[in-house]
């Protein structure tokens, strides 16, 4: 498959983090996701979206990330967002 654009990868990682597929960025240490972790996260996202589980940031996966959706994380806990209930 054609390599995705850097902007798409960047957007994808941000998207996967926002919806709980990847752990949130560590505020203290710069960290880099391993390729395996990223591919696993993409596969799980693809399962939720009903896409072939390739683990690749392919065009259909990128397009799906732009689809309308509910803003709660798909994977609870990792994002730690939805448990905040402050008005």
């Amino acid at each position: 498959a054609e390599n995705p654009r850097a902007q798409d990868v960047s957007m994808g990682v941000e998207w996967l983090t926002r919806y709980g597929y990847l752990p949130p960025a560590d505020p203290v240490h710069a960290q880099m996701q391993s390729l395996k972790k990223l591919q696993d996260a993409i596969k799980v996202m693809q399962r939720f979206a009903g896409l072939p589980e390739t683990g690749q940031m392919d065009p259909i996966t990128i397009a799906t990330m732009h689809k309308p959706r509910c803003s709660l994380p798909d994977i609870l806990g990792a994002a730690g967002l939805v448990r905040r209930r402050r008005r």
Binding site: F48, K67, P68, C70, S71, L72, R85, R86, R87
Partner: protein, 429 residues
């Protein structure tokens, strides 16, 4: 399906629309009716009741807003497309259960040209969150995170099996009541209750408030109550994961189907393995998965063919106690062998019931004996039951009402309690 971990403790929930869409073609009346129908979808499968109230006089459980951009909840909307809506899980906070729709979407109902976003479909999804469901990856689930278009007539729409399973895991299923249907004039004939297949979550389940559990165990801070092929889970917070029990074989993967009753259970402190006992055998689980085959109880030092009533690990000495009738054995986990000199008389535990249903140690270190509808408490490290023992299990552990005095059964016979004595205490006892 996935569960958020929170659930409403009441069965009647109030709702109100606090702000309507400013730009939608849908009238306020249509929006109210669609919300009513979207809630009724969930009510029809759970027995929950939804009551629309005037928020001027009463704080509703579910407050519905149409809002745009930043709207004071840390999850700003983003204009047309992208984020459509969100809802907050059940809880005690004022915002719990509240459901917000992005007012910059083009909300539609019954649109056949594919234009706009179907409000009913999104509302059903969001109310699933407001009731405690997370997102699902099941193909037909309304709880899939992506918008998948209109779902058809609100009057005939019903949840997929995956959604029903998740909902009924949270709230159980009871017979449909008239209140479960919308009180407004229907847009279409109301949905018929679906025919449930055998073995579905609608199968009759035992009443947890009747006690008489087969086994009780503290597994990683949660107390599991086993009864027949079912079990309930009590979270460390004291809240039931669900009032409806989970199926034994759906959870404990690999447990042979012929095992219908768990007679005792405990979590092995050394390695966290979970041990389930039934008949003269036991099974070892890592997490939910079975490890290896059934093993005989003789490994714990019991005679061949002997069964156990109760098993627990005592934090005071790290040893595992196995009780049968009026006697008990002790097992040394570190040495991986039974301690010599057993069985001994259960009377070591003063005031304990004979042949307890099970024994477990709470997160605070107290030891609890369970039998019938009662429990006996032994404070941390003590082998003498507390003076207020026994007490009914239901109100303390399982969110059950206090039994009427005429319903109270007399507690079973217990080991004798010493008043005062000139005791000689042996170190190994």
């Amino acid at each position: 399906y996935s569960l958020s971990g929170s659930v409403w403790k009441k069965r009647t929930l109030t709702w109100s629309i606090q702000s309507f869409s400013q730009r939608s073609q849908l009238s306020q009346q249509i929006v109210r009716t669609l919300m009513s129908y979207a809630l009724a979808v969930w009510a029809a499968e759970s027995g929950l009741t939804f009551q629309e109230v005037n928020s001027q006089y009463q704080e509703p459980d579910i407050i519905i807003h149409f809002a745009r951009a930043y709207h004071q909840d840390s999850y700003p909307f983003d204009g047309p497309g992208g984020t459509l809506a969100h809802a907050f899980f059940p809880g005690e906070h004022p915002i719990s259960g509240d459901t917000h729709f992005d007012d910059e979407e083009t909300w539609t109902f019954g649109s056949t040209d594919g234009e706009g976003i179907d409000l009913f479909a999104v509302a059903v999804h969001e109310f699933g969150h407001a009731l405690g469901l997370g997102h699902s990856s099941a193909p037909n689930s309304i709880m899939r995170p992506f918008y998948q278009g209109p779902v058809g007539d609100p009057g005939t729409y019903h949840l997929s099996q995956d959604d029903r399973d998740g909902l009924q895991q949270l709230y159980g299923k009871i017979s449909q009541t008239p209140n479960a249907r919308p009180t407004r004039k229907p847009l279409a004939p109301p949905p018929q209750p679906p025919v449930m297949p055998p073995g579905s979550p609608s199968t009759p389940v035992p009443d947890r408030c009747e006690g008489n559990f087969d086994a009780v165990a503290n597994i990683r801070g949660e107390i599991f109550f086993f009864k027949g092929p079912w079990f309930w889970r009590l979270q460390p917070s004291g809240q039931l994961v669900s009032p409806r029990p989970a199926g034994l074989h759906r959870f404990w993967e690999g447990l042979p189907t012929h095992v219908k009753v768990i007679q005792a259970a405990y979590a092995r402190p050394l390695d966290g393995r979970i041990i389930l006992f039934s008949g003269p055998q036991f099974w070892v689980f890592q997490e939910r998965q079975l490890e290896g085959a059934a093993r005989p109880l003789v490994e714990f030092g019991l005679p061949p063919g002997e069964e156990v009533d109760a098993v627990f690990s005592w934090p005071l000495n790290g040893k595992t106690y196995l009780i049968r009738g009026q006697k008990y054995w002790r097992y040394d986990e570190v040495a991986a062998r039974p301690d010599p000199g057993y069985p001994r008389a259960l009377s070591l535990w003063e005031g304990a019931p004979f042949a307890p249903d099970d024994v477990t140690v709470s997160n605070t270190g107290d030891t609890y004996f369970f039998k019938g509808t009662h429990f006996w408490r032994f404070v941390k490290g003590s082998v003498k039951s507390e003076s207020d023992s026994p007490q009914p299990i239901g109100p303390k552990w399982l969110d059950c009402p206090v039994p009427n005095t005429d319903q109270v059964t007399s507690p079973p016979k217990t080991t004798s309690k010493t008043q005062s004595c000139d005791c000689h205490c042996e170190l190994n006892q």
